[in-house]
C-alpha cells in the first residue's frame, strides 16, 4: 500500500526547490524538477536506514537537499543557506556534511561505480541492504557507466538499483544528437540487467516498479529507466534546454509557483 500523503510531496518539494534556486539566483532547476519524483519514490518511500542512495547527477543537488529536509536530516534553516558563503549545501553536494551524503558528487560518472562498490560491500557482508543510484541519461555518456554496468552483472549485484532520469536533454543538446541513446532499454538488457521502463513522474509506477525489482532475486542488477520531462511541473521550462542553466527572475518565479500549485494542488 502506498501512503497517499506521499503524493503531496510532488508539489511540496517542487515548490521548495524552486524557492531555493530563486533565492540563490541559481540554475539547474529543470534538472532537479526532472528527477524529483524518482527521488521521492526511491529515497523517501523505499530507502531504509541500512540502504544507501547516491545522487550521481550531482548538479540536481537541490532535489537531494529537499528530500533530506523531508526525512529530517537537513533543517529548514540549513536549507536557506543553499549557495551561500560557508554553506553545507553547495551547488554540487560536498562529502560528509550529512550522513545521507557520504560522497562528493557532481563530476559525472562517479556515482554508479560508488553504488556498485557499496552493493559489493553489502554482498560481502551478506546483508539485505539495497544500493540505489540515480543517474541522468546524459551522464550515461560517461565510460565509467559501462565499466560499472559490466562489473555489476559479473558480480551478480541484484542488490543494486540504478535509476535513470531519462529526459532526453543534456547540457547543450538532445541526447540523441550528442552521443545517441546511451540509456536505451535494449542496451541495458543486452548487458544483463533486469530493466523496467516507466513514466518517471508517476509515483505509483515508480514505487511499485522498485518494489517489483526488489522482490526479483535473479542475480541480475536492476535498472529503472524513468522516462521524464526536463523541467516537469513548470510549463515554460518543460523540455526547454535553456533551463538546464538559467536562473529564475521574480516574474517567472511567481509563474512557476502558480504552475506547480495548479498541477499538483500543493
Amino acid at each position: 500500500m502506498i501512503d497517499q500523503s506521499i503524493y503531496s510531496l510532488q508539489g511540496d518539494l517542487r515548490l521548495k526547490l524552486i524557492e531555493m534556486y530563486h533565492s540563490a539566483n541559481a540554475g539547474h532547476i529543470a534538472c532537479s524538477l526532472s528527477c524529483i519524483d524518482l527521488m521521492i519514490g526511491a529515497l523517501i518511500h523505499h530507502k531504509k536506514e541500512e540502504d544507501s542512495f547516491i545522487l550521481s547527477k550531482g548538479h540536481a543537488a537541490a532535489s537531494l537537499y529537499v528530500c533530506l529536509n523531508h526525512t529530517g536530516e537537513i533543517s529548514n534553516e540549513e536549507l536557506k543557506t543553499f549557495y551561500k558563503n560557508g554553506t553545507k549545501l553547495p551547488a554540487h553536494p560536498a562529502a560528509n556534511k550529512f550522513t545521507g551524503i557520504p560522497f562528493a558528487l557532481g563530476s559525472l560518472g562517479h556515482g554508479f561505480p560508488i553504488a556498485a562498490g557499496i552493493a559489493k560491500a553489502n554482498q560481502l557482508k551478506k546483508n539485505t541492504a539495497y544500493s540505489y543510484v540515480l543517474m541522468s541519461d546524459g551522464e550515461t555518456n560517461e565510460g565509467t557507466t559501462w565499466e560499472a554496468a559490466h562489473f555489476a552483472v559479473m558480480h551478480k549485484l541484484d542488490n543494486l538499483i540504478v535509476l535513470i532520469d531519462k529526459n532526453g536533454l543534456q547540457g547543450f543538446g538532445h541526447t540523441k544528437d550528442i552521443l545517441g541513446d546511451t540509456a536505451s532499454e535494449e542496451k541495458w538488457q543486452t548487458l544483463g540487467f533486469e530493466v523496467l521502463s516507466i513514466n518517471g513522474h508517476d509515483l505509483e509506477q515508480i514505487i511499485n516498479g522498485i518494489d517489483k525489482l526488489k522482490k526479483s532475486k535473479n542475480s541480475k542488477p536492476k535498472v529503472i529507466i524513468g522516462n521524464t520531462v526536463k523541467g516537469k511541473g513548470v510549463s515554460f521550462m518543460e523540455n526547454e534546454m535553456k533551463w538546464h542553466y538559467l536562473p529564475l527572475d521574480p516574474g517567472l518565479y511567481q509563474q512557476a509557483v502558480n504552475d506547480i500549485r495548479k498541477q499538483y494542488r500543493a
Binding site: 561505480p113 562498490g117 559489493k120 562489473f151
Partner: protein
C-alpha cells in the same frame, strides 16, 4: 660509514604481495581489487587464500577507484592494485572526488613506477605520479626502498585511516632493510650520520645513495643519508635537523624533478632554512625503452650522479 650488506635481490612489488597476504590473515576487513594485473602486482597469494575478499574489476581502472570508494561504506579497507600510471593519471578525477575529497579509506597500491619498468617504454613509465598524488589534500604518499620496507609499509597503511598512495616497482633490487622493521608513516629513517652533505633519497634511489655515500667517504666526504619513504606528510624535522648540521642538500628520486621529493624538500628549505640544494631526478622528460640499468644511467639517476651532485652542492656552500 655504517655498512649495509644486502641479503638478496628482490622486487618491491613482491614485498607488496607479501604484505597484502599478511594483512589478509590478520585483518578481515581488508579487501583487494585488481584491474587484471594479478600476477604483475603479486596478488596471487591473497587471491588463492582469500578469494571471497578479492575483487576482480577487469581492465577498468576508473571504475575500480569508484568501487573501492563505495566498498569503504561499512568498514571495508580496499587495496587497489594496478600499474602506477593507471593508478594515478588515468583515474585522477575518480581519486580526487570519490576518494580524496570524500575522505575515503582507500589504499592505492601502484606498481611498475618510474624508469625501472624498463623495456615497456615511456607510455608505462610514469614519472609524475608522486606530484599528482601529493597535491591531493589528505593523501599520504609513500615510496618504500626495498622488499622488506614495502612489505612493512603495506601492513602499516591498513592501520592508517584515510587515503594512501603506495608506490613500488618492478625490478629486483638489493634488500638491505630489516625484515622485522616497524614502518612509521611520515618518519624518515636515518641510514648514515654525516656532517658534510645531507642526501635525502626515496624508493629505488635509497640504495644508490648508500653506494654514493661509500664513494664520497673514499674522497674524504662525510655524507648523511636519510631514507624519506614518506613523501607526504614529509618529516620536516628530520630534514631541518640534518640541514642545520650539513648546510647543503642532495635529493634523489626516480621521478620528475617537478612535483617530486626534491620539490617538497626545496619548499621546506625555502620556508625555514634556505640552503643550497641539488636534485637528482628526471629533468622534464619522458622515459624510453631500455633496460632499467641503462635508463637510470641515461637519465642521470645513478650513483655517479649522486656523487657529482654532492660535490657540486658542497662547493656551493658559502
Amino acid at each position: 660509514m655504517k655498512k649495509y650488506t644486502p641479503t638478496e635481490k628482490k622486487d618491491t612489488r613482491s614485498g607488496f604481495g607479501a604484505g597484502l597476504h599478511e594483512l589478509g590473515k590478520k585483518n578481515p576487513n581488508v579487501v583487494a581489487l585488481c584491474a587484471d594485473l594479478t600476477g604483475s602486482l603479486k596478488m596471487d597469494a591473497f587471491l588463492k587464500d582469500f578469494p571471497e575478499r578479492f575483487v576482480q574489476v577487469g581492465i577498468a581502472e576508473a571504475n575500480m577507484m569508484g568501487i573501492a570508494a563505495g566498498l569503504t561504506i561499512g568498514g571495508k579497507i580496499p587495496f587497489t592494485g594496478t600499474f602506477a600510471n593507471f593508478s594515478t593519471g588515468r583515474v585522477y578525477d575518480q581519486i580526487r572526488q570519490s576518494i580524496a575529497y570524500s575522505g575515503k579509506n582507500v589504499k592505492i597500491c601502484a606498481s611498475h613506477a618510474g624508469l625501472t619498468l624498463g623495456e615497456d617504454g615511456a607510455t608505462h613509465q610514469i614519472l609524475e605520479d608522486i606530484g599528482m598524488m601529493k597535491m591531493l589534500p589528505g593523501m599520504v604518499v609513500i615510496n618504500p626502498c626495498d622488499y622488506n620496507q614495502t612489505k612493512a609499509a603495506t601492513i602499516a597503511i591498513a592501520e592508517h585511516e584515510g587515503p594512501v598512495y603506495l608506490r613500488f616497482g618492478r625490478p629486483s633490487v638489493p634488500v638491505f632493510t630489516p625484515a622485522d622493521q616497524k614502518f612509521e608513516i611520515g618518519k624518515a629513517v636515518m641510514l648514515n650520520e654525516g656532517t658534510d652533505v645531507s642526501i635525502f633519497a626515496t624508493g629505488h634511489l635509497v640504495w644508490k645513495a648508500i653506494q654514493a655515500c661509500e664513494q664520497l667517504e673514499a674522497k674524504g666526504i662525510s655524507a648523511e643519508i636519510i631514507n624519506i619513504h614518506t613523501i607526504k606528510p614529509l618529516d620536516e624535522n628530520a630534514v631541518l635537523q640534518s640541514v642545520r648540521k650539513t648546510k647543503c642538500v642532495v635529493t634523489c628520486e626516480e621521478h620528475q624533478e617537478n612535483g617530486g621529493l626534491g620539490d617538497s624538500i626545496a619548499q621546506v628549505l625555502a620556508k625555514h632554512a634556505p640552503t643550497p640544494i641539488e636534485l637528482v631526478a628526471v629533468k622534464d622528460s619522458f622515459g624510453e625503452s631500455g633496460t632499467p640499468d641503462e635508463l637510470m644511467t641515461k637519465y642521470g639517476l645513478d650513483t655517479v650522479n649522486i656523487v657529482e651532485a654532492a660535490l657540486k652542492v658542497i662547493g656551493r656552500k658559502s
